[in-house]
């Protein structure tokens, strides 16, 4: 049986959820309070301040908020030879004008952004007090960070900037997401997310931007998506025009290209740009691609000791790993050759909709896997 060291005692992973039960309300309260602070991408400062207050209360060192709304602090280890990093993104896709009031029921918390990613951020905020009260002192330094500018146009800007500037070696990265439990992601897919914009100058053309965009979509979908389906194309969102009475002057398509290899994604993007150039030839018509976000392919193998250990921990906790191994969050770690995993804390539904909710019951098992993972890495797993 896998055991983790708590103070002087070795505790089986299986018993961790029960040991963690007294800390449930601390975590839930942080999740509720964080979720009620609006935090759109690039507007995460208030959440970062809340996190900074929590870090300061727990006596973390070097607490600060940087220009990307990253909030970080360090819990010093007994030896401090290496640094383990735990991250969670602070931004949500909800506008500050939307109602962020939460509702707590017997088994659920309802609030926009509670799963993605108030609960993940809350665990980052609560980890120091959990570790302290369980008598866990890591050998390595624990770097805790809530990251700004992650989603959509943020393009993981917060964590990327932080990792570019942080000068101590990081031996392991753990990215936390509120959902879904069973998430065990250790690879980053190569991807490009962008917006195709189509504009028609009404003074010289009566074409509809929507009709042009429609033709562009048809052509893009005819592109060969790699050998053996390694490439995929996601048509995510579409908008355009203002009225049924007039041909649309503008239309936009948000899309993502994903693949196993950076080169193949790059080639496919080039082909899309060539198609756009063709459609932009008629007088008064423009069509172009604006890249919003990119991620690099890479990460750990299935057989990496960290992945195997994580699977073992999840098995003991009776959590079934989900089949999706890829997370864009891992990309920022991949760019710095830092082995990293992304774990989900609990079950959730309606993610990114106003009626988003998380289940309370499974949460402490989700926390247990995080604690066991930290203890394992601190004890040498993956070296």
């Amino acid at each position: 049986m896998v055991e983790v060291r708590l103070g002087k005692k070795m505790v089986p992973v299986r018993r961790l959820p029960e040991k963690l039960a007294p800390f449930r309300e601390l975590l839930l309260a942080n999740a509720i309070m964080l979720s009620e602070i609006p935090s759109p991408t690039f507007g995460e400062h208030d959440r970062a301040r809340f996190l900074e207050q929590r870090f300061t209360e727990c006596g973390l060192q070097h607490c600060a908020i940087d220009e990307k709304n990253n909030c970080f602090g360090i819990l010093p280890g007994s030896e401090g030879k290496k640094t383990i990093m735990v991250s969670a993104h602070l931004d949500t896709p909800f506008a500050p004008t939307q109602d962020h009031t939460s509702r707590v029921g017997v088994g659920t918390i309802h609030c926009p952004g509670i799963a993605d990613n108030s609960l993940g951020s809350a665990l980052v905020a609560t980890l120091p007090i959990i570790l302290e009260r369980m008598g866990i002192r890591l050998c390595n330094d624990l770097l805790l960070i809530g990251c700004g500018g992650s989603l959509d146009y943020g393009n993981l800007g917060g964590i990327r900037t932080f990792l570019n500037e942080f000068d101590s070696p990081i031996c392991f990265g753990l990215a936390l997401e509120g959902a879904s439990q069973g998430r065990l992601q250790f690879c980053s897919v190569a991807s490009m997310g962008g917006v195709i914009s189509c504009h028609v100058d009404r003074k010289v053309s009566s074409l509809s931007a929507i009709a042009i965009l429609n033709q562009i979509i048809t052509r893009i979908q005819e592109l060969p998506c790699g050998h053996g389906g390694e490439l995929s194309l996601v048509l995510g969102a579409i908008s355009g025009g203002v009225s049924y009475k007039l041909p649309a002057r503008q239309a936009q398509l948000k899309l993502q290209v994903r693949g196993d290899s950076d080169g193949e994604v790059k080639d496919l993007v080039k082909k899309i740009e060539n198609i756009l150039n063709e459609f932009a030839r008629p007088l008064g018509v423009s069509a172009y691609l604006e890249v919003i976000a990119r991620t690099r392919a890479g990460g750990l193998d299935f057989s990496h000791p960290l992945v195997k250990y994580a699977r073992k921990v999840m098995g003991i906790l009776e959590l079934s790993p989900l089949d999706d191994y890829y997370s864009s969050t891992i990309s920022s770690y991949v760019e710095h050759d830092i082995p990293a995993l992304c774990l989900g804390i609990t079950k959730a539904d309606n993610i990114n909709y106003q009626d988003e909710y998380v289940e309370i019951g499974p949460i402490m098992k989700g926390v247990a896997q995080v604690i066991a993972m930290l203890m394992g890495v601190d004890g040498g797993v993956g070296e």
Binding site: E25, A29, S102, G105, V106
Partner: protein
Amino acid sequence: MSNLVKKWLRENTFHHSQFWDILQLIEEKQKQNLRISLCLPTYNEEATIGKEVVIFKSELQDRYPLLDEIAVIDSGSTDSTCEVAASFGAAVYQSADILPEMGFNRGKGENLWKAIHQLTGDIIVYVDADIKNIHSRFVYGLVAPLIYRSEIKYVKAFYDRPLVSRDKVRPSGGGRVTEILVRPLFSLFYPELTAIIQPLSGEYAVRREILEQLSFPVGYGVETAHLLDIYAKWGMGAFAQTDLDKRVHRHQQTRDLGKMSFGILRAFFKRLKAQGAIGDLPELSPYLMRYQALGNEYETELIEIFEKERPAMLEVEAYRKKFGR
């Protein structure tokens, strides 16, 4: 404004941010060997009670041990209020089960009164269970003046300070009942009490030694009755008030406010008469009367507002026995 009121506003009106150092507050509480109880009176509050219990337990018990007990006193909710509250660690009591020999009345005042017997704190903090933007300041902002200033007996919450801009002052408002009923009545009969910015707010902290001497209307008039009785017995200096910034809660229908006003008026006139501030009054009707048109006919609607008053807890033998009074 009288000098007394000016002085009171200057010295007894606080902002919750003055008490941000909860560790210092706890240290002072421990020095005085005080126990503090939080009472959440409920009746069908499943939408908001869970959040209140989680936040107060986490922030003011698990993280900072300011509260010694968190209790829900329920009037027989038919939704999952009690189940939700208990699932997050609150002690849940049915009002009807407390002092059963005294009977049971459904009403907020009844719950507040029975809490005095059930809870063990030297200070009891009452917080309404329908607050959407709950925060630990709703408790520490109210108990802090009692902990730091022994002469203060009763601390009331108020919200949304007056805003001054371009030489214009937006008067700090209470709700509709405060502005069109209670404040005019206080202005006429108890001008000093108008300095209490939101006399009907449901959040206040009180010393047990005061609570046990107060009689309690079981319904809407309980807050007004407290203010009048404490003012008559201990004077303005016993009060303090704390600005808790914003409070988001359920909006009440005007029809319901009519019932509230009726209950308040009955409690108010009863005290005016008892204090000799007003001459003979006719017997006050327990019925609120409304008329509604049905075609060309008008129908009378009689709503009975039951404003029974519970005696001061010190008059209850079981209480005296339990607390050695």
